[in-house]
């Protein structure tokens, strides 16, 4: 089979699998977040955490829960890395250096999983399993919880309650992330992913690092985390040994974000509302995939930076999925991509990661854009703008604006300062436009909580460690607070009955408009910067 045919087959299989799975999983998610019964293990957790699972919070209470929980997560991860020498399975790797340790703690709590460390030499299995893997689960569950709070904002009427953050968090972990990743960890082991508590094996006199990879690999993709247990991430044969494991990992990245559109449609009582979001995500995803694939297949050295066992199509598929979701795992070196291919995966992040976006973050990201789209569309048909029966006024537009502004602001300021710092030249692997692309990529990755690395840039200096960590924090939590505020003001409203004059949000017109807004917001913001980086690279 030719590589192209194999690639098309993989894409076809992937789409079929997602089409089949997203309905039951989406409906299951809807039940998880609306049911009133608690599992025994959940009640135990609530008792241990002294939480009353019946008490719902206002939007600000919910936000305080998210921020407080995440802050504690950073502190615990920080301590865990500092006390590593006294932990089992540390293999003498010592306490992690402060700048790196702060960056890593922030990175995993914010679901970014940017890795400025080399796992094989810096972290032992205890920190990996008890620290990073725990955050892989809970940071993804936080994203899910926030998305569900926003959906409740649309569904509920005249209430100031958005749900119970602690219940949402625990249910996300216990009922969604744990069972699915347990199943897929076994699948990945069967496909040849390593699972061992040893530090390494000696092969032909050479020490090769091994680790409990499969268990972390499943949640790494499912929770759109992306932090590899090996430095080479999913390009490493122990994390991603063959085409089948590659396809399973791509599937895991996409499955929850895709299913959430179904959950959304189910919960708002009109499945077509979810279909239209999925349609927009899908078209943009397919479009960028086609560009990356074409660009890489027609590059000067198509296989540079790619694993031979994957080839161009599977590398393009993985790269497009990892940047379109908020994952950031890599199975190839994006730095070696062509100007157009590398620029497109960068663009995936700059779109705000809504193709289909991270776990939860993708759904609330595109809903915020839908709010802005409907505001303008409402004006254009001469009605007080509304979306899903909720009026879009000053508070709603302000919250949406803050959420949308956060990422470009922190990204452009960070990348701008870095571009003129004298020390930057030494950190870059390449001069000229490609060097600028490397800077833009790093800051886009951190600001969007993606975590994938273009590579080719050395990010261990204090400036990079600190400035990227700040980007991850602001890029994660400013939109979350804004989204919760939006949910709060939506939930407080009474639903406006839909009449003949209401603009429908289920047809191709709305889909086109929404897709246009997604592209336009990113294009207007980033075209000048991209012109000097990827565009200058890509133009002959």
């Amino acid at each position: 089979m030719s590589p192209t045919a194999a690639g098309l087959l993989q894409v076809g299989l992937l789409i079929c699998a997602l089409a089949v799975v997203h309905r039951p999983l989406g409906d299951y998610l809807a039940r998880v977040y609306t049911g009133s019964r608690h599992l025994k293990v959940e009640l135990l957790v609530y008792r241990l955490g002294r939480v009353d699972p019946g008490s719902e919070q206002t939007w600000s209470g919910y936000a305080v829960g998210v921020l407080g929980f995440s802050f504690v997560g950073v502190v615990l991860l920080h301590l865990l890395q500092r006390v590593q020498p006294w932990l089992p399975f540390d293999f003498g790797r010592g306490a992690v250096e402060p700048g790196m340790e702060f960056n890593t703690a922030v990175s995993f709590v914010t679901n970014t999983n940017w890795q400025s460390y080399v796992p094989e030499t810096v972290l032992g299995h205890t920190v990996q399993a008890a620290g990073l893997t725990v955050q892989n689960f809970v940071s993804a569950a936080v994203g899910l919880a926030v998305a569900m709070a926003l959906v409740r904002g649309f569904v509920r009427q005249r209430t100031d309650r958005l749900g119970d953050f602690w219940v949402d968090l625990v249910r996300g972990v216990v009922r969604v992330l744990l069972p699915i990743s347990a199943v897929f960890a076994v699948v990945l082991i069967a496909l040849g992913v390593v699972m061992s508590l040893k530090s390494g094996v000696t092969v032909d006199g050479q020490e090769v690092a091994i680790a409990p990879a499969a268990s972390q690999e499943a949640i790494k993709e499912l929770g759109t985390n992306g932090g590899g247990i090996f430095n080479a991430n999913s390009a490493h044969p122990f994390e991603n040994p063959n085409s089948w494991s590659n396809l399973v990992e791509v599937f895991l990245m996409l499955v929850i974000p895709v299913s959430l559109t179904r959950t959304f449609g189910t919960l708002v009582g009109d499945r077509r509302q979810g279909h239209v979001l999925l349609g927009v995500m899908g078209v943009l995803w397919a479009g960028t995939l086609a560009v990356v694939w074409w660009a890489e297949a027609n590059g000067l050295r198509p296989l540079e930076g790619k694993e031979l066992r994957f080839g161009v199509p599977a590398s393009a598929l993985f790269a497009n999925a990892t940047t379109g979701t908020s994952t950031g795992a890599v199975n190839s070196t994006h730095d070696s991509f062509t100007g157009l291919g590398g620029g497109t995966v960068l663009l995936n992040m700059l779109l705000g990661e809504v193709t289909p976006g991270g776990v939860g973050t993708g759904l609330y990201g595109i809903l915020v854009l839908a709010v802005v789209t409907m505001f303008l569309a409402g004006l254009m048909v001469g009605r007080t703008p509304e979306y899903l029966g909720k009026k879009l006024g000053r508070r709603e537009v302000t919250a949406a604006a803050v959420s949308i502004l956060a990422m470009p602001t922190v990204m452009l300021i960070g990348a701008g300062v870095t571009a003129v710092l004298p020390s930057t030249r030494d950190a870059l692997g390449n001069p000229g436009p490609h060097g600028l692309s490397e800077i833009l990529y790093a800051y886009a990755s951190a600001s969007n909580n993606n975590g994938s690395a273009f590579a080719g840039i050395t990010v261990t200096s204090d400036w990079f460690q600190a400035s990227l960590a700040v980007r991850m924090l602001l890029g994660r939590f400013v939109p979350i607070v804004a989204v919760l505020a939006l949910a709060g003001s939506l939930a407080a409203q009474r639903e406006v009955p839909r009449t003949a004059g209401t603009l429908p949000t289920t047809g191709p017109l709305f889909a086109t408009l929404l897709a246009g807004s997604v592209v336009l917001v990113a294009a207007l913001t980033f075209v000048p910067a991209l012109a000097l980086g990827p565009v200058a690279e890509a133009l002959p």
């Binding site: 879009l392 452009l412 003949a500 004059g501 209401t502 075209v527």
Partner: protein, 541 residues
Amino acid sequence: MIADSPQRTRVLIASLPDALRKLHPRDQVRNPVMFVAWVGSLLVTVFAIADPDVFTVAVAAWLWATVLFANLAEAVAEGRGKAQADSLRRTRNDAVARRLTAAGGEERVPGAQLRVGDLVVVEAGEVVPGDGDVVEGIATVDESVITGESAPVVREAGGDRSAVTGGTTVLSDRIVVRVTTRPGETFVDRMIALVEGARRQKTPNEVALTILLSTLTIIFLLAVVALQPFAIYSGGEQSVIVLTALLVCLIPTTIGALLSAIGIAGVDRLVRRNVLATSGKAVEAAGDVDTLLLDKTGTITWGNRRATELIPVEGVDERTLAEAALLSSLADGTPEGRSVVELCVERYGLSAEATAHEKTGEFVPFSAQTRMSGVDLGDRRVRKGAASAFELGDVTRRIVAGIGQDGGTPLVVAENDVVLEIGKQLLITRGALTTFSVANDLAKYFAILPAMFAAIHPQLGRLNVMQLTTPQSAILSAVIFNALVIVALIPLALRGVRYRPSGASALLRRNLLVYGLGGVVTPFAGIWLIDLLVRLVPGIG
């Protein structure tokens, strides 16, 4: 397009002094988008004075022109309102009231000293000193100053024809009026305040749009400010003049410049049609219109009109019209109202009994101010009234005129109000110009980015699709286009985007095509054309 009639040019020139006065930062700071343009103009001017050359001075001049044109738009709109307020004020000032004292006597006091509850006498030839209800007598009243309707109307004690409005003139007989409104809050006062914009607060939609425009401005500010370090990294540091020119071109100056003119002109149009909106908010709420319907009553004799026919318009089926007409007349006890009910029952088999749900509706009685009556039922608002009380589409207007020529009296029934398409038009105009403004940026990027960076990355010259002559001419052309488009769109802002009642999707599709796609294409052509002229200037081309 800039001045398609000498009259319009005259209006623009007459408003110039006001526009210049508005350059004061106190006025500018209220509009975030134009404030950024204003600061940019100032910045470039400083550089132009320090190091003058043709390009710098030209950019500075055109940036100021951008700000000035925005002021001009507002000044023209305000000017129109002011003229109208003056004529209204004349009707009010000279009113002297004949107040009845407790002792049964009569005293003459200025209209401004009346209190709510005072009883005043108005006789033939006198002006009603304030808003109130007739409590005694019957009179014919000339309300043309308020309504524009030259035929006098009858006002009498009791019933639904008892309301009189300050400023109107009693033509015959004598009435006693109980004052219901304090001086300064009367119908005419509110009308004056509204058109003068003295109490014109931003409507919720306007506030929300301003937030969106500010957001866009911040985004562009970021994009341009961050561009300089990237340019320095790439070895092509840019001058402040070029960066400022890029920024002013990108921020939504078109809508920012015209936003307040749109609002002022909208209220002005409303008042011209004799509809008093207590606030701009009410106007916008009225924009949530669903259907426009028409019915007809044949005149036999005054006071005994009977509805004879229902004529639906523009995609409304006859039964829907009958239902709306019935609903608007159920609580209307006048002979006209009853005849509409009868017609609907006889011809369309509808029930004259209100359902339990319909009974929960709130009946809105006829009043001289609105000249319409109707019912509010949940979020449905059905109104029935004289054709002149409604802003009508072209087709409807023709039908109305036809009925009038045949000797009939047309009545208009409208669902979900009403006051008009003006509310809708206001929103549409803002939305359309925002879309246009943002869509324009694509062409501006294609003009300015190659001009900035083709020197360091020659391949970016390929993006110069308009084949603009030199970097200077490209940047200047974009700046000039950006300024001129404001002037070109002033008439549209004052008139409002044309609105035809149709489905929301059809309306959106049309406006996206005209203002979205049009907004993408127009600047490519405009900038290219301007470049043809600008390149002739020595030092630019």
